[in-house]
């Protein structure tokens, strides 16, 4: 038996091998067992790729540990490969000496040739550098379920439980969670309950009997604080945030979206969780989606849309309308690799400048970004709160990686949710003085005057407004004052933002600062460098416009500032121009999260040079 602080394991196979199921079961079991867990599904690149080919390989990665894990892990300590194609597609990520569990029954000549091997990779010591466990899974699974009357497809389906059983043994996972799942799922199909249970246990025993001499691994439990916990994906966190915001504001939620991946998952989720007061509609395009949301906001509801880069580009027109008509709405951009349709299933953070500036005219709005999958919940609540308080559109920049990956989350109780009561404008006084739709409160926000309210009738829209009255005005000085007013209103949000916090030394050689989904990689890489004795700190921005007030002061506390981003240096250029500091960009554009080593290497280069 060997002890480990954390393990990253990837399950890889054909679409029919059920890897997402295996990954999800391994995740739930590990989390319930008491580990912190981050996960990342790796769906096949093509929707219907031929079986046994590289484009058809689907994977699911689970990183679990006894200390806090912030990323789904990069180099793997274990790989489960169900066929030659999945071995070929994933082996380069397995660490030397890593555990390699393969379904040896799938390694016939026809299959390894399809994967592009010229010889059987399991023979002739080709896998010598790894701890190879070759299991004839097809055969053992068939034997395990032989006594149950099943169709051949059902027999095949059971195989994933066998693989799961083997993996459970190697990492001392209990079977209870999966057994309960099997009972729930196959409640109407008792033969499948029996078969799945048998093959799961057979897989587990296989580990015990055949591999015992080599031993298994132990990953201790994390010291979690008390409370109720669950595993949550970025998409689910965003969806729950929206539902919580609707409940806390007591407003109807109108969610309109055009199903561009990965934003389509949020649409599906809200449809599935049909809630009273929540109207979900598939719009004819992204432009319509934001207009639907904005129309709903005009009507006093919470108008929200979710999209991805090309959709945000279409929406820039309507964002301008939302800014000038000063109505609250929320746009969630799940960024993917661009430009244009780019790489639809790959992640990137290259919409930052589009979110900050991609509109005609002087058109400031609030931009936020969640740091982790679960942070989507808090960031959506914050987006809704700010949108309403400041009567402005808010863009939330999440991304494909955050949407799909998952982490352990402490479930908040309803009492812990922020108070967000909203009052729409009501007529004041005796009604003799005309209503002023562009009068401002202490936050410089105009009243949210909702159709249906007698005495507040007014007309808003996309033409420049006269101060206070909101009448159309082309007066030059009025325009200058209105541009300044809209800018001041958004800049003023900074007054209430929590100050940026720093991990590590408050002064020193290097600050590594990031935003969005790079949080986990930056945090872990800087922690590792500090443990090697380097004077490096990290900081993470969740508010990108406006920036917290202390950002400039913090940046000046370090000799150098490094900005790792999955774009060509967009935040870096923002920081350079806002604070006149010589920030250094670390850019990666491969549709993948940063490798820790990429960031560590750059830190070492900068600190040691």
């Amino acid at each position: 038996m060997q002890e480990r602080d954390s393990v990253a394991i990837r399950f890889a196979g054909d679409a029919a091998d059920g890897m997402p199921f295996v990954g999800a079961q391994f995740t739930a079991t590990s989390a319930i067992h008491g580990n912190t867990v981050c996960t990342l599904p790796d769906p096949p690149a093509e929707i219907r790729a031929p079986a046994g080919t590289l484009p058809g390989v689907s994977g699911f990665q689970v990183h679990f540990g006894k200390l806090a894990v912030h990323t789904p892990g990069e180099s793997l300590q274990a790989l489960v490969a169900m066929n030659p194609a999945s071995l070929k597609a994933n082996l380069f990520d397995l660490e030397p000496g890593g555990l390699l569990i393969v379904n040896s029954d799938a390694f016939c000549a026809e299959e390894w040739e399809k994967a592009g091997y010229v010889a059987n990779p399991l023979e002739n010591g080709l896998m010598q550098g790894y701890r190879l466990v070759a299991v004839p899974m097809d055969q053992l699974n068939r034997e395990a379920v032989a006594r149950v009357k099943l169709s051949s497809r059902e027999v095949e389906r059971c195989k994933s439980c066998f693989a799961l059983g083997v993996a459970f043994w190697f990492y001392e996972r209990p079977l209870e969670t999966t057994l309960a799942w099997i009972h729930d799922t196959y409640a109407k199909n008792p033969p499948m309950i029996e078969a799945s249970t048998r093959t799961l246990k057979t897989g587990y025993q296989y580990g015990e009997t055949c591999s015992a001499p080599l031993g298994h691994y132990r990953v201790g439990k994390a010291e979690n604080s008390a409370g109720r916990f669950r595993q949550i994906t970025g998409t689910k966190a965003l969806a729950l945030g929206l539902l919580a915001a609707a409940q806390q504001t007591n407003l109807p939620l109108v969610f309109a979206s055009f199903p561009l991946p990965p934003a389509n998952e949020l649409l599906h989720q809200l449809c599935e969780w049909k809630q009273p007061g929540v109207k979900v509609i598939q719009a004819e395009d992204d432009l319509a989606a934001l207009n639907l949301a904005l129309g709903a906001s005009f009507g006093g509801a919470l108008g929200v849309t979710a999209t991805t880069g090309p959709g945000l580009a279409l929406q820039s027109e309507t964002l301008g309308l939302a800014v000038i008509s000063e109505l609250p709405c929320v746009v969630i951009d799940l960024q993917r690799a661009g430009p244009s349709a780019g790489m639809p299933t790959k992640s990137e953070q290259a919409d930052l400048l589009q979110a900050l500036h991609g509109r005609n005219g002087e058109c400031p709005l609030i931009v936020l970004a969640p740091a982790t999958p679960a942070d989507g919940f808090a960031i959506v609540l914050e987006a809704v709160r700010l949108a309403i308080r400041y009567m402005t559109p808010v863009i939330v920049l999440s991304d494909t990686f955050l949407a799909q990956s998952a982490e352990t989350w402490r479930v908040p109780s309803l009492q812990e949710l922020p108070e967000m009561g909203v009052t729409h404008a009501v007529p004041t006084g005796n009604g003799s003085s005309a209503f002023l739709p562009y009068e401002r409160d202490t936050h410089l926000a105009r009243p949210w005057a909702v159709p249906g309210t007698a005495g507040l009738e007014h007309c808003t829209g996309g033409l420049e407004k006269e101060e206070r009255t909101g009448n159309v005005s082309y007066d030059p000085l009025n325009h200058q004052r209105m541009v300044a007013m809209r800018a001041r209103k958004i800049a003023g949000v900074a007054d209430e933002l929590p100050p940026l916090e720093v991990q590590g030394p408050a002064h020193g050689e290097l600050l590594v600062i990031g935003w969005g989904s790079t949080f986990g990689a930056i945090r872990t890489a800087t922690e590792r460098c500090r443990s090697k004795g380097l004077a490096v700190a990290s900081a993470h921005l969740r508010h990108l416009n406006p920036l917290p007030q202390n950002v400039g002061a913090i940046l000046r506390c370090y000799r150098r500032v490094l900005v790792p981003e999955l774009n060509a240096g967009q935040l870096c250029s923002v920081l350079r121009s806002a604070y006149l500091i010589d920030a250094i960009s670390l850019s990666q554009l491969q549709g993948q999260p940063f490798l820790l080593s990429e960031i560590e290497r750059k830190i070492e280069e900068l600190v040691i040079s």
Partner: protein, 336 residues
Amino acid sequence: MSTNVLPLLTPSDLTSDREVRWCPGCGDFSILSQLKKVLAVLGVPRENLVFISGLGCAGRLPYYLSTYGFHGSYGRAPALATGLKLANPDLQVWVVTGDGDALSAGAGHLIHALRRNVDLKILLFNNEVFGLTKGQTSPTARAGTCTKSTPEGSVEASLRPLSIALAAEATFVARTIDVDVNHMSEVLEKAAAHRGSAFVEIYQNCKIFNDGVFDYATDATIKADTVIYLEHGRPLLFGKDRNQGLRLNGFEPEVVTLGHGIRIDDVLIHDEKASEPTLAFLLSRLIGPQFPECLGVFRSVQRPTHAELLDESFRLGDPARKLESLLAGDESWVVA
């Protein structure tokens, strides 16, 4: 419209204090004033009336009413209005659009509002030209029309707004004309009373860039021969002596003169309630000078509105899945 409801408002109650900026002689003035008369007697409180528009001359209309209004972006008014109805189905929402706004930039949004049967009153002011951008061709400009952007005459086929509305499954489709104020009132009242998407094309004269394009339909000396006033259940007759009619020859319409063996029974009967919009579509295709053009209600049928169907589906939702249980998810665990 019911006449036993006391008018709540007068047209002047619906007038905003903003200066009307259309060109003198523009057909929009007439539409605005008829609209106010109709609105005043609807019995809908002023605060529940909302006008949503896009860009162009027609798009200015909401500013001239004292109701709620939202002057949106080019072509997007149907989407804005759909969102508003989702937020509050109790409002009476009107969309004011022009031929450029509705059919250049906004065609996609228009057809989706119609097919959803959102309870909107959509008025398309068709002047067959771009006015506010100073006189370019429009998607409804007839082939050959000379404009600043088509000095040699437009070479593109023109769209017929009513044909598009019918193809988009609109449940109420009508046409009227700016100067025929009584007819316009009648059509607007029917549109207001319709439950679901009501689409009204209003022939509107642009005094500046397309003056007189609808003279054939307004000139008292000829209009009897160029216009058919649609009446539900009545034969499609026109002409000073009402002796001309439309009949079908195979799938083709043709104009016939009664007598000489052609009897009134040969003439098509208008049926705005027909379950299929085939006849309405055929009528929407008729243009002069070969054919008379139809004014009135082409189609008026009932089907559930967007809001009704959505409410239905929300009722079918799972109220047992409260936020608290969604937060906890299916697999949560407790650390003591």
